[in-house]
């Protein structure tokens, strides 16, 4: 693509704007929808990084499953949906400080990484160097790694998922009783 910059900026603006909407909108259902938009544009950024499988998985899991779970959870809360909710509490100042610090830390990290990479290559933006380091057919190589080098983590994931499922069922049954 000749102009990944434009696409990147569109996606970045959409991501950040929708993320801000998630924490500021008054209607909790609108917050969930803004979160879906945010996750979807993050998937777009994954594609810019050549991680197409990750992008598809992001949409399939976060939009297709987690977001629906969240909407169902909203439906579970009694009448919270109809009321405008307060999005902040007395800890708003602490939260601001922490998030500004975190943001600054991330920016510093990106800046330093950028320096380290730009010294070798001629590219402009920090994320362009990351492109091309992934193999072209990333699904196959991902599968290869999962099945051989990272076999144990892969099997542990299934145990984790099992624990999550049993936990969910136990909690849900307790709620019913």
């Amino acid at each position: 693509m000749a102009e990944p910059g434009i696409v990147f900026w569109i996606l970045a603006v959409v991501t950040v704007a929708s993320a801000v909407m998630v924490v500021t909108l008054k209607n909790i259902f609108h917050c969930a929808l803004a979160l879906i938009l945010c996750l979807f544009s993050v998937a777009g950024i994954y594609i810019l990084l050549n991680a197409e499988f990750l992008a598809a998985a992001q949409v399939l899991i976060y939009v297709g499953a987690v977001a629906i779970l969240m909407i169902f959870a909203i439906m579970l809360t009694s009448n919270l949906a109809s009321k405008a909710i307060r999005q902040s509490n007395e800890q708003v100042m602490v939260g601001t400080v922490v998030s500004v610090l975190f943001c600054g830390g991330m920016l510093a990290l990106i800046y330093l990484t950028d320096k380290a990479i730009v010294s070798e290559e001629t590219g402009v933006a920090f994320w362009r160097q990351v492109r091309g380091t992934l193999p072209a057919d990333n699904v196959a190589s991902l599968g290869g790694y999962l099945m051989t080098k990272f076999m144990l983590p892969f099997e542990v994931v299934s145990v984790l998922l099992l624990a999550a499922m049993i936990g969910a069922i136990v909690l849900a049954r307790k709620e019913k009783a």
Binding site: A2, F29, H30, L33, F53, G64, A67, I68
Partner: protein, 356 residues
């Protein structure tokens, strides 16, 4: 008649010609790509609109004849332009807006519903080389973008602020997510043999004789296809899985408050989705656009897809609707175990080489 040369000629040279013409206009690089894709988008929309109009008419005719009626007969030969008239009528209908609706959500739900259905056609291989973009993650991409349909139905239910609509949207979401797991498991059975997620690779790995089609890959091919077609019927919200819009209990489900063009978008998306799931079935199990050379590949594709669509239509007018509890328990207790056992059997057969 002019029809014969149009049908006989392959479409690819036309696209190549248009591309060269655009280049001649002085468009370059990214801009050319953007213009080409936008043009293809409009073209795909045109094709889908015509297909949906045809499918609605066809469904009404089939329903009519199965119930010993004629179906639409008034507009043209056997009512062939009845659905166009319906479309024009919907265009002129007043948009009744409920006062208590959630304005933003109500407005965007039909848009997202249609765009989600539309996006699947980026990777749909209509014919040999007739594909908008052959993505590496093709089939996974389709599974991912079509999940937005569920979101849009939930949005429609919520935005209407109507009890029937919200219940319809919730049921629809619960149903679609439940049937997505067996659907993906049956798709994985095919991917085991292609070793690629790209739609073109999937089609090309079934080249040659009819017996290379995955549906004939005994013993797991037919099972995978049956699981797929069951789950696909549920994904497209069609009878016997049309609980979300069950007329008798939920009037029209999620779209009860929609009228005019907004309703038309849901209706269009529903038929586009039906065509999508059939086209995926053809791509995965029936060799896609492959067939005898003397018929253009896109006619093979459309013909095969219409056969699968016909199957879905016969389902609809043959079987009664399932109850909500039967529907969910069928997905989780029967379909999912069978689908995964089938997947493992297919894996073993692939390893042992016990297949054609």
């Amino acid at each position: 008649m002019n029809l014969i040369p149009i049908v006989a000629v392959e479409l690819q040279p036309i696209f190549a010609w248009i591309y060269r013409w655009l280049e001649g206009l002085g468009l370059q690089g990214t801009l050319l790509t953007v213009v080409v894709y936008a043009g293809l988008g409009v073209m795909v929309f045109g094709v889908l609109a015509v297909l949906a109009l045809f499918l609605v008419w066809w469904e009404r005719k089939i329903a009519g004849h199965m119930q010993q009626r004629f179906g639409p007969m008034r507009n043209g030969w056997h009512g062939w332009y009845q659905t166009m008239m319906d479309g024009l009528k919907l265009l002129q209908k007043e948009d009744v807006l409920v006062d208590t609706r959630d304005k933003v959500v109500f407005f965007w739900a039909p848009v997202i519903c249609f765009v989600a259905a539309f996006l699947a056609y980026v990777v749909m291989p209509f014919g040999d080389g007739l594909i908008v973009a052959d993505l590496n993650v093709g089939i996974l991409y389709i599974m991912a973008v079509t999940t937005f349909t569920v979101i849009s139905l939930l949005m429609a239910g919520w935005g209407s602020n109507n009890k029937y609509a919200l219940l319809g949207g919730m049921r629809s979401a619960a149903q679609v997510v439940s049937y997505e797991v067996p659907m993906v498991a049956s798709i994985l059975t095919v991917i085991l043999f292609t070793g690629s997620l790209s739609m073109v690779d999937i089609v090309e790995s079934q080249s040659g004789l009819v017996f290379n089609w995955f549906v004939f890959r005994l013993p797991f091919g037919p099972v995978a296809f049956m699981i797929y077609i069951t789950a696909a019927t549920a994904e497209a919200n069609r009878t016997p899985f049309d609980i979300p819009e069950a007329e008798q209990e939920l009037v029209a489900g999620f779209n009860v408050e929609y009228s005019g063009m907004k309703f038309a978008m849901f209706f269009l998306a529903e038929f586009v989705n039906m065509f999508t799931v059939s086209a995926i079935a053809v791509t995965l199990f029936f060799g896609g656009w492959q067939g005898w050379e003397f018929i253009p590949s896109w006619i093979w594709f459309l013909g095969k897809t219409f056969m699968v669509v016909l199957l879905l239509m016969l389902f609809r007018w043959t079987y009664p609707r399932l109850r909500v509890d039967q529907l969910m328990e069928f997905a989780w207790k029967i379909l999912i175990p069978i689908a995964f056992v089938n997947l493992i059997v297919a894996g073993w057969m692939k390893y042992a080489g016990w297949y054609w």
